[in-house]
Amino acid sequence: MRALVAVLTASLLVACVDATHQEEVQALGGETPGVPRGPLHRPGQPCLICHGGLGPASHEFSVAGTVYAVRSQSAPATGAQVQIEDINGSVLTATTNAAGNFYVPVDTWQPTYPTQMQVSLGSLSQQMATHAGRNGSCAGCHTSPQGPTSPGAVYVALSASDLPEGGL
């Protein structure tokens, strides 16, 4: 009888696992050596796969992503302001950290989609050409390199020559 209960319980647990989500998490790969889990980890990855409420991360975000200094280059934009506005006119501004990452905890702000975004750093500013319809992960669409289904990573300067003397 106990064995039967155990088998049934196990099968129920298996049935509750979201296989698609598990595959998405697996596809992200492991942590970069030397970078601990935390605000600086996994720049450029779609944050909400793990931080969207389905786990495995414990901190849940509504919007999160990575901003780079120059289009198609890998240096992060540190201290950039990410302004997010939802369709009701509610605005939240987040600041990128040393990895170029920013994140908005769900208990801080949850937008009503669609949203519009703008990133700025000093005198440089880029407004998103389209709106976001449903995905709070920037890298859900903004992957590198550019291609038919990606505009490339988020950046503040079109070219290095746009940067102020001495860089950012």
């Binding site: 506005e85 006119g89 669609p114 407004q127 976001a132 319809g133 859900g140 550019q146």
Partner: protein, 187 residues
């Protein structure tokens, strides 16, 4: 012996009937439906509106969706193109092939219902699931996008009625969604 001849005769007769019935259908025959206009002139403005409003890469600008929208603001058809309309930024405008791909996806969602709506001169657009979802009459992850009578709605329904209201589609419908803060700061 008689039995063998009986079966042989039956098989031959059957084959002749089959051959006759097949040969009566032209090889290029199709089962047709009434469909809305598909030309770039008439569907193009609708396609541009759909690309802008519904075709972002996280929504219907994805090949994983039932309704797939292609265009320069979202998913591109050619492997060498990027989601960018501006030539200055390395992009290019939506191509005729992309309009056709969007058209086929949209009309192919519910072909018999589409046929019914079109044959009724667009009088009952709500019969179509994509209209009900956009109007918020049915569950839609993207929320309520259009209100009956607004330019977006007129763009869609005029096309379904066979007379695309181009001015409703562009630039009016393209002005949605409207963000009070960021849009105002860039004006």
């Amino acid at each position: 012996m008689n039995r063998r001849w009986f079966f042989a005769g039956a098989v031959m007769a059957g084959s002749m009937v089959n051959a006759a019935s097949c040969s009566s259908v032209p090889s290029d025959a199709t089962i047709g439906i009434d469909a809305p206009p598909d030309s770039v002139t008439e569907f193009g403005p609708v396609g541009d509106y759909l690309d802008h409003r519904c075709g972002t890469l996280d929504c219907h600008g994805s090949s994983t969706r039932n309704l797939q929208i292609w265009g320069c603001e979202g998913m591109r058809l050619a492997s060498t193109d990027i989601p960018e309309c501006s030539r200055a930024l390395g992009g290019k405008a939506t191509t005729p092939e992309e309009y056709e791909a969007t058209y086929r996806s949209l009309v192919g969602l519910e072909p018999t219902v589409m046929s019914e709506v079109v044959s009724g001169h667009g009088q009952d657009p709500d019969l179509l699931t994509f209209v009900r979802k956009a109007r918020g009459l049915e569950a839609h992850k993207g929320g309520v996008l259009i209100t009956p009578g607004d330019p977006q709605d007129i763009c869609i329904t005029s096309w379904l009625a066979g007379q695309t209201n181009v001015s409703a589609c562009t630039p009016n419908a393209i002005s949605y969604p409207q963000f009070p803060v960021l849009d105002a700061s860039t004006e």
